[in-house]
Point group: D2
Chain length 390, copies 4
């Protein structure tokens, strides 16, 4: 069986990458590093990996960074790297939400491309500030709404855009987890601690953490504009200030309807992200936990199981597929696809060229849209579900 | 493998049953008749099977009814049967929604127990009239919200009631179909014709047809009171007056939240009724299309697949199970369970006694609740999603 | 959604049915009775329901039989019923395997059509005797290999026969259960007791009980002749004489290959009957535990999920479908399909006519083939897996 | 959600890795390279990537190798690398089967650890020669039976070893593909070409390619000794000499029974590797295409769905897990686990120490066992299924 899609063959040199956050005790930083490695397009060479200098140093050493490129803080790092002839070309920002804006703007200012974890930041106002900084810098900015990296998610987008579903009428998206069912934040779980804290997470709890993923996924696939939304955010966990569950009704400008549910208190759900899209000519269903299958139901025909890399899996997904169907690719490969897409864009930028056709990753516009979504939802919920334009 | 639960062994004589509606070209009447036969507790002996006398006669003959018990209309039937010493003891009403109230009240008045298809009727006001008639008659009234007959649905109810889920926080229920995606009602489909016609269906389209099933199922399993709801009803099909899609947010008196989605325009869905219930101690998920499996996720433990009749399948479900696990029971057996439950109640009533412990079927209260739900949803939707108490 | 396929409309009178076996404590008799009732084509009017007269009487009364048609033994019953003007037209034989031949031959001799549970009997020699009796009688003989009644099983047969799979190369069939994993027969389980007893079951344990079902299913669907087989029968349960597990390699006359596995000691399997058939142009997979779905994989195309009654579900399955897709039919409906097919044949025979086109049920030929299969497998296994022609 | 298991934190320096084979047009070489990168334990620094010098050079350049470490052949490479102070410490052999022995022995002789693709080689005699070379060298030898790297496969092994299943009675393993259903080797597919060629693949076709994977998986999980086997190998594809389908009955020394089916002509199967193991106290089922779920059925209890990293997923699997449950890991992560296990062993060997507890990867013994299995199966099949001791 011939391998399709990308390989590790490198047309140019690897990209010099830095990282802010992601040191000891962090979770998502390690994911970013694996994602950067899978297709061999990056070298991690510098980092300000923790807000505690000692931890930053220990973490940098563990990762094999040169001592002079382990920094105590991002400001120093941005300046120092900008001054080096072999300074980083791109940086990954993997700090908690409230600490995105500072480093993003600093590195853009230093002429460094930025890959930033989602959500973009903690407020729409700040999102707009970052947007302005991106525009001013002329640098590439990518937001790791990683689920858009799954090949079959790209296949869905391609099918919708190609009109295979006809006119879209309905979008059902959900992201259910269970890890906050009990008082997880009181058990020493660092990931839980900052996620339930408005100072670090912003106005949305589950909303910012996973609701934005669900929203982004539906947006990426359908491209439909949300005209207004009505939200009901709930904090079930005792003592919680931020939502751990949310229901949002969506009205699209086209007249389509949607429903978004996200929860972190639904026992039996690990990362139950599921998207269903229905049009006049067919329907699609995809579940993140088994991302190598897509259920496609052309109207009045039997449902097809499209597999990643298999028959009918399309070109947009094929571009970001490494191994043949039946050998599952997972979360890390989807994440890696974003890194590799960004790498193609950066390599093109090196030469002042355009990225190859089809290169696709979430950008600053998606980040701003995400914050607008969060703020609209919070506003709607505080207004007892009033319809709000995001 | 020993058979558990009910058998066809009859402690008493079969119940003499009549039917109104269900003649040529009808659908649900045949289902009721099979359901009545499966456990051998009824004899169909009389009918007013169609509003067209000729069709009524032809249908009655095809079913082997005695000529003098084939009636042109339900009024005549009610009177004539009441006058016979061997007159019917129970009647099944399987006409379109707008033609329930008449025969229901007539037969109750004639001292006949009534089994009525859902929804109860076309308006809450009329539902209340029927409720009064039931109360006045002292007869048994059963509403065929047939999904409550599935053994594992009863198991879910038993688990919720027994506290196994802890405090319920979330109820996610949906019922998706696709048969009205195209202009089905213009293609000569009789079932589609009356369902999109407000004169025959009432104020709810998909809402009355399947939304009430979804609501009833969630109500049956959780027993939670809906404090208020916010609905968005949509008619996507060209020229449709009634909704073919609906999204309803639910707030329960307990503080729990819920979401109900029903659609008849979702390609790839046949009878996609699914209920998920989440509490502080565990979660449940059940899908009607494979009703012999229940997914039970105790908090922080691996999800269990409970099979009908298998380990952990409980007493409430075992009561209404005929064959061992692994040999699927389906829709007709679930429907038959309601008929058999009602038969136990009727047989007890014959002797002035109480039905055996555990006998359970939807009653007039469920019918009234269903209409209150429909009207509240219609009202909310017309008020742009305002929260309405049902 | 319009109901397709059969209805309960009766073109003629119900068939007068008797039963031998199936009294108190039995399992399969109750299943036969429900199956006979579902489509309303039979009236159970006579029985010799147990070998213990008192039990026979009590069982007959519980079923509402007239006292003079409750018999102590099948010989008396055959004679008495033959002498009555309203005597039974058909009889269901639901005794343990070793007690099939006697009543089958007696009733055929009395001019009564016979519906017999499987396997036909306990030896090939006796099977041939019964075959001769059937031929001599001119009566209808049906064997309840009930899985052939599932609509999607008929669809598979239709697809194979229609060449949709191309030339068949491979047949993988299995039937796994777990109920004999422990010493079930020592726990008072009557079903287990006779099944592990060669005197009552014949030479095959799991082989006769479920292996024959698996074999019959593959035979029904593919129509391929087995040229030779190599079997390995094992009795894992302590003290067991008969096999509770078997592996059989199959070579078909066409050059195709097959594999049959049946087990009653495989924990986690209830009635895990699964058939997969692969040809040069496509493959099929069907699982009994969710019989309303069929997976169809045309070569180099995405797999389709064909649902009972849904798109591509074909004519042969449609004939034996009662309710629309998405509302599951199960084991009892599949079983009922055989009863209803036989009823069509009996009604045609009443008038000396032919059954309607498409009527299909397992016959004496299948019964003989089953015993030949059992004896070949036992012989092969005793000869250390030597290839044996069945 | 806290990440469990391994991270990319490096206690020592990366291992210097070479590769033989895996150049342009190859498939599995790219997989090895990704696997080596995921946990950041290796640097690919040298290669003889193709038997065509020009292709070898082009492939090496594309991978960014230093010009002086791109070799025309493995002999030169082994010598040159052995002579360098910074020479490779380990080499990955990813050539077709018939070209394993040469480089394996050469590099072992040069003091280099070897990671070799499966099957080990083309004959048992040669396997034994390699075995002797490994023993003589004192170097680490790993065989990439990559499915043993899946966390839940390790969980199964742990459960069997811990006695959770009781005494094992049955092992059902299968590996079904469909890519050779048509005349793929005549279509220019390089992967198909060498796999159907006995000169390059050895005596087994599907047997060597995927049958050995299935065998190894069952062996890894159960640890049971095969006492004898009976095989039926078939070549369905026109003109094929090697088997493209095989059925093997297994008798274990313990009295357990097994069945192994592998096929490359089963339409609808991509990489349908499935293992089921049944014991006196419970059963397990695992499917490679959704490797993040394991079905565990304790006798007389409801089946549990154990997820990778979730409740009951155990320590042995946790060791080789990167991300939390619900975010799927796939084939590449499983493959990477082998590379990372070997890296731990190599790093320990650097210091003359022992690998950390729990480190586990297939070794030369597995390779020899695989060839013994292949030869026994071929011999049995040629002897019409005679039982043969492997």
């Amino acid at each position: 069986m011939a391998i399709e899609g990308r390989s590790d063959a490198k047309a140019g040199q690897r990209i010099r990458l830095g990282m802010v956050g992601g040191g000891e005790g962090a979770f998502i930083g390690a994911v970013h590093r694996i994602a950067a490695r899978i297709d061999d397009a990056y070298d991690l060479v510098a980092g300000a990996l923790s807000s505690t200098p000692e931890k930053a140093r220990r973490s940098g050493e563990a990762l094999g960074l040169a001592p002079d490129r382990i920094y105590d803080d991002y400001e120093t790092m941005a300046k120092a790297e900008a001054a080096r002839p072999d300074g980083i070309e791109a940086v990954a920002i993997v700090t908690p939400n409230h600490m995105h804006a500072g480093p993003v703007i600093a590195f853009l200012g230093a002429g460094v491309h930025v890959i930033c974890d989602k959500p973009l930041t903690v407020s729409l106002a700040e999102a707009r500030r970052i947007e302005a900084a991106v525009a001013a810098s002329g640098r590439i900015f990518a937001l790791t709404h990683n689920y858009t990296g799954y090949p079959l998610v790209r296949r869905m987008r391609e099918m919708v855009a190609g009109g295979e579903l006809g006119t879209i009428r309905l979008v059902q998206v959900e992201y259910a987890q269970d890890w906050l069912t009990g008082p997880t934040e009181a058990s020493g779980n660092k990931q839980a601690e900052w996620r339930v804290d408005p100072a670090r997470s912003g106005a949305g709890g589950a909303l910012g953490d996973i609701g934005t993923h669900a929203f982004n996924l539906s947006d990426f696939v359908t491209g439909l504009d949300v005209a207004e939304l009505s939200a009901d955010l709930t904090a079930f966990g005792e003592g919680r200030v931020l939502d751990d569950n949310l229901q949002i009704a969506l009205r699209y400008a086209s007249g389509a309807r949607g429903s978004l549910w996200a929860s972190q208190v639904a026992p039996g759900n690990e990362n139950g992200l599921m998207l269903r899209v229905y049009g006049t000519r067919g329907g699609l269903a995809w579940r993140q936990e088994n991302p190598n299958q897509l259920f496609w139901s052309p109207l009045n025909e039997a449902t097809r199981i499209i597999t990643r890399g298999g028959p009918q899996s399309g070109a947009a997904g094929g571009r970001v597929t490494r191994i043949p169907p039946g050998h599952p690719e997972g979360y890390l490969e989807g994440f890696a696809n974003l890194y590799s897409e960004v790498a193609l864009a950066i390599k093109a930028a090196r030469d002042g060229g355009e990225p190859p056709e089809g290169v696709l990753f979430p950008t600053i516009a998606d980040g701003v849209k995400g914050l607008a979504f969060i703020e609209a939802a919070v506003h709607s919920s505080r207004s007892n579900g009033q319809w709000v334009k995001p």
